[in-house]
Symmetry: C2
Subunit: 203 residues, 2 copies
């Protein structure tokens, strides 16, 4: 049995360690083996290290039920459950402004299913917009590796369309027309701050 | 054996359930049985419900090692460890501005020990200030139930004093002179937004 002590990094099984992924990256700009979450975490690290923005992924919410305190070693959580997040996954600060977003990917090629979002998150988005925060979603079509930035008020209108009995997804054409394509880069991988600069003209 | 299914609320042992705490509150404005964290969570809920601000506590960061997927029931985390937070605990948006803070309490009566903060959190505070976020700490002296709002740049200067070989705490006199006393209220319990309004003149 292997023990995995906390080291401040997400546990990655040995078969596909962080090192392997980094090595792959030297060979190709393509997204092989990188999830959207990994790409965005790398992007946020880049922003943080270069003093561009301070934006973080929130920890996965967990309901802790039982904790053991073995002698001479760290507390071990022995029983816990995943909880539904009540907010979006990412938030932080850029030039004094509050930044808040969710990132989701789909295998679909012609539309983005709204089931990727939860009612709670949509309510959160509404609250953030009411407080004049900068709020958006980053959507990825995995098959083509296309990434889009879509302002949150569009998400709310498509969500409303669904609630009113309309389609349960956003068509790709709608995303292309209202969203902003983010070209994949090397460093940072997904330069969404550029879109924020363009849209909100921050100084 | 009791099962505690996730319901979006922190697990509270039966001996001191949320209901008991709420019942107590009807009898007294005092802070009996309420931790600083509970007070701040209630305050944030009040702000959220009344459309005043959208500020949340981040989930406790946990390193998940082993998860079981029993048939017909929710995934169970069987082995996990607490990780040190790389940011402060609370953040959100108020009038478009990024709000970021940490809340800590001490049993001491004459000073606030700096060991309540971690190097990581201090680094985070520096990054937030560099991005012009509104950043502060809420400090409570448990014995007297006094709560203070201290702007983050003061924390940084006391931290530097410690690093330079000086005292390992902030004296109560320093907190009284540079901080802002937050009187305990009923709803909200700890009205820190009032101090933000006073200090930053947001409109």
């Amino acid at each position: 049995m292997n023990f995995h002590y906390p080291n401040g990094r997400r546990y990655v099984p040995a078969a596909k360690s962080t090192k392997t992924i980094k090595a792959e990256k030297k060979w190709s700009y393509s997204n092989r083996g990188m999830t959207l979450e990994e790409d965005i975490n790398e992007t946020n690290e880049f922003y943080l290290e270069h003093g561009i923005a301070s934006i973080h992924k929130k920890p996965t919410p967990v309901q802790i039920v039982q904790v053991d305190y073995p002698k001479r070693s760290a507390a071990v959580i022995k029983e816990a459950y995943f909880k539904q997040a009540s907010t979006t996954d990412y938030n932080g600060v850029y030039k004094g402004k509050y930044i808040d977003f969710e990132a989701k990917e789909t295998q679909n090629t012609t539309s983005f299913p709204l089931k990727n979002f939860h009612e709670h998150q949509v309510k959160h988005v509404e609250k953030v917009l009411a407080q004049k925060g900068i709020c958006f979603v980053i959507l990825r079509f995995s098959a083509t590796e296309e990434v889009y930035f879509l302002e949150a008020h569009y998400l709310l209108s498509y969500w409303k369309r669904m609630k009113d009995g309309g389609r349960k997804s956003i068509t790709k054409a709608e995303i292309e027309s209202h969203g902003h394509h983010i070209p994949l880069g090397f460093q940072p991988r997904i330069d969404y701050i550029k879109i924020i600069d363009y849209l909100y003209n921050l100084n």
